[in-house]
Structure formats: C-alpha cells, structure tokens
Amino acid sequence: MTTPRFWREIEQRYRGIGVQCEICDRVYFPPREICPHCRRESFGKMNERELSGKGKVLTYTEVHDPHPDFKLLTPYIMAIIEMEEDVRVTGQLVGVDYKDVETGMEVKATMRRLGEESPEGIIYYGYKFAPVKDKHE
C-alpha cells in the first residue's frame, strides 16, 4: 500500500473513526458515504462516530501461512470482532494464547504496527485487539 493510500485512513486506523447514519442510527466502520439500509435518504447525513474500541470475538483462526507483513508474528491469531456499536471489524488478536481464545471473548482495540511500505518506507500503524483483563476497561 502506498503512503497516501495509508495516510488517508489514519483517523480510522489510529482512532477507529466510523460514521453513524442520522436516520437509522446504524454505525459503520470504515466510514461510508451512504447507509446501505437508508440508501439515498442518508446521503449527507452520515456523521462521524468514534468507536469505543470494545467488542467481542465472533470468530477466529490461528494463521500459519501468513500475510507477508505478519511473518515475524507467525503463528498469529486473526478474528472478526463484533464491536459494541454493532459493527464488525477484522483484526489480529495480541497478548493472548490461541488456546485461550474463544467466541464471545471481550477484547479492546490497541494500536500496533501493521506493516511497512518497505524497509526504507513508511511504517503502517493501526488497530489490533487485546483481551480485556480482569477489572480493566
């Protein structure tokens, strides 16, 4: 991914900025110009909405044949997270052993390195998910 293509989405990747449809209150991440539910009525009525970063694991896998940028982390865990705002996000799970992962597990977004353009290039940062431990968050 080139630098501008990544830079354009920094707000989403760093801070989880999505949108909420003014008509039906549905939340979308990443942002959409048009609510797939309200269609043309929603145009111009999609307002910025920051996700809480909290969610639950919907499904997951341990990857042994990695995405090239994730080789050093292999095996690593990928999951689809059902966020508090009823929107789903794909991300890596960190800070947890695969054997301890289960559907419904509570997780929280955390910023990590995702990859890099090249060894000389821009570093990509973005959200991954860590388990919510004990009383915290």
Binding site: P30, T59, Y60, T61, D69, F70, I80, R88, Q92
Partner: protein, 388 residues
C-alpha cells in the same frame, strides 16, 4: 430472449504448466472449443475472457485482445471480465446475455489464469486481493484465514467437524482420479487430509485448493442455430447473479453466502426448476468449508446439514446429488479466471454423456456455482441436456 446453447468446449490440462504462457493457455483452450463446435474463426462475433489478475500475476493488462490476436482472431472484439474468483462464470453470463439478447450469434467465452509465473507467496497475496485490501488484508487477514474464520463460525454454530471438511476433500480427489485434465488426478486417504500441516486453523493444507495454470473456453450460439454446427450441444437453461458486501465481517451471516443464495434463486426462477431437480453440481470449493457452505446455500441441503450430508456420502458420485464430479477447484485445480468455464465444461461433458468413469447416470440438469472473493459476488448457471 433467445435460448442459448453451448456447442463447443475446450480446456487445457490444469496444473503447474511451466512451459506455457497465459496467451498460449487461452489460445489452446479457445482453438479446442472452436474446433469442437465446428465454427470457423470468421463466424465469431465476440470474445469474453474471464481473468482475475493478469496485471499482477504476469504484469499484463488488456489480455482479451492479446489472446484474440494470437488466436488469429485479431479483428474480433474481445473484453476481459473480472469478478475475482467468479471471473470465468461472470464472463460466461456476459456471453449468455449477448447471445440471448440477439446482439451476437456466435460468442466464445474463455477463461485463463497463469499463476505460477510468480512465487507462491506472491500468488497467495494476489489471491487475497479479492478480499478487502484496506480493511481485511492490511490488518493481517489472508484469503485462507478468512475462510478459516467462516469454517470456525460454521463449526461453532452448526457443529460441523474437521472430519466433515476432510470428507469433502477425499470425495473431490476421488472424483478427480477419473479426470485426465485434473491437476491432482488421484484419490487421497482421509488421514492425509486430517494430518496435513495447518494453514489457518481449522483449515490444513489439503483443505485449500491449489494455485494453478489453465485455460478453458466454450462456444455459445442461439439454440435455434445448433443444427448449423457439428458441436454436441447442451442448453444453458438459466443464469443468476448474486452480490454481497466485499468484506466478510460486513456480512450479517458468516457461515453462509447471501450472494450464492440470491444467484441460485434467480437461476432457478429463470430455469423454472428447483434445487431438487438438479442431478449434479460443480460448486466453488476453493476451500473444504466453501463446498459445505455452497451446497447449503444452493438449497441442496438445509443450513447446517452440509457437513453431515457430505459425511454420509450424499454428495458422492451418483448418490443423492453428485457434487464436483470433475474434482472441483480442490483437485481439478484452481486457474482462477478459468474456473467458471471449467465448471461449465464439466457440466457439458456430463450432459453429453462423455464423462466416462465419473459419469452421472441419466444426468439431465447440472448446476455450476462460481464465487468471487470470500462471497462478495457469485454466479450460478443451470444447464440442461439437449433434447430435440
């Protein structure tokens, strides 16, 4: 709308074809199909080529005119159709529409992919690019892992097992053992599948279709003209397209494919038949889980019963419904852009009664099911045995 027939078929061997280029694969398949149909080059009105990613795999865009050119058909309009893994099936649908509408009479629909000119890692990355690059793959998802998450979800929700996944693979390899064009024309024991190295849990190496080179082509003409040509015709009874969100996480259903259901509903409606009438189907088994999901969403089995049905042998050759008699993407091979055409060719071979040891007895209706990405696009064709 006119009825449309397939009057010629042609495909290359599928596999790691080191000595063949993309244009050679396209030409070989195209010439075989034209010869099979008994049409001459001048009669062809239009060429559609299904191809997923020549731009990335061989750094060549504009491949349809290139293939037409080297086939000696340089004055025939040629267009490439891309819809991820469904490129071939979508190209076939375009060909069908242009003949059915009366716009063209003789249309050649080809599909080709050259995947081994880049290394495995690069090829897999390119395959993953049919998922959402910005919100899935950048975050670490691979094409394998997205299907693995579907598999995990299906297991959790419906109790599907790794054993049942393995049964899909064993069956498809067994079918491929009777298909000379297959990349892996041999049966494999279940313990091979179960004990294969893990790719993305719960999917092992044998749960995943291979990276393949291959080309395939069919010749279409209006049903009313079939007698003008030598080719042994089969009828395209109906076509249906389906669509869904590009990213797996955006779909309300992770253990099923809405795109498949929509495509199937439309195709059945256009054909005036139902899933019960289908004798055999070529479904998009790029992963073991994909076949289980497909046979449920196509209406052959209830949701959640795809795994047990496979385990009980109800999808084996000449059982309740014969699924992937060719060996499927898993064992016949996965030359991505050609897959949809390879499926139509298998259907034609079965309906012509030319399938030899893998022949479905008294086959009348066949279905082909081709999926793009992790389910953002799907196309279903229903084919019928020719009757005068």
């Amino acid at each position: 709308m006119r009825d449309v027939a397939i009057i010629g078929i042609g495909e290359t061997q599928i596999g790691e074809l080191w000595d063949k280029s993309l244009r050679e694969l396209g030409i070989e398949a195209g010439l075989k199909a034209i010869r099979d149909a008994g049409v001459s080059g001048e009669e062809v009105d239009m060429l559609y080529v299904g191809n997923m990613s020549a731009g990335k795999l061989i750094n060549q865009e504009h491949v349809a005119p290139m293939i037409a050119d080297y086939a000696g058909l340089d004055d025939i309009p040629a267009v490439r159709i891309e819809s991820g893994g469904a490129s071939g099936g979508m190209a076939l649908a375009e060909g069908y529409i242009s003949v059915a509408s009366g716009f063209d009479d003789i249309v050649v629909v080809g599909g080709a992919e050259k995947m081994t000119d880049v290394n495995d890692e690069e090829a897999k990355k390119i395959l993953s690019s049919t998922a959402d690059q910005e919100w899935e793959t950048v975050c670490g998802a691979t094409f394998d892992s997205l299907h693995a998450m579907m598999a995990r979800y299906h297991m959790n929700k419906y109790g599907t097992t790794k054993d049942q996944f393995a049964e899909v693979i064993v069956k498809n390899h067994s079918n491929a053992s009777n298909n000379p064009n297959a990349q892996y024309p041999r049966a494999i024991p279940k313990n091979f599948v179960m004990n294969a190295p893990m790719v993305s849990d719960p999917l092992g190496m044998f749960d995943c279709a291979p990276l393949s080179d291959g080309g395939a082509a069919v010749v279409l003409c209006p049903a009313e003209y079939v007698d003008n040509y030598n080719g042994d015709p089969v009828k395209i009874l109906g076509v249906g397209h389906g669509a869904d969100h590009i990213a797996l996480h955006d779909r309300r259903e992770i253990g099923g494919m809405k795109a498949t259901r929509i495509a199937a509903e439309k195709a059945f409606k256009n054909s005036n038949i139902s899933s019960k009438d289908i004798d055999f189907a070529e479904v998009h088994d790029n992963y073991s889980i994909s076949e289980i999901v497909a046979i449920e969403d196509l209406g052959f089995f209830k949701k959640g019963e795809g795994g047990p049905a496979t385990e009980e042998g109800r999808t084996a050759l000449n059982s309740e419904i014969s699924i992937n008699t060719s060996g499927g993407l898993k064992a016949k091979g996965q030359p991505v852009g050609a897959v949809g055409i390879n499926q139509a060719i298998e259907a034609a071979i079965q309906l012509r009664g030319d399938a030899g040891d893998r022949q479905v007895e008294d086959a009348r209706y066949g279905l082909t099911h081709n999926v793009g990405g992790t389910g953002a696009s799907a196309v279903v064709h229903i084919l019928e045995r020719w009757s005068e």
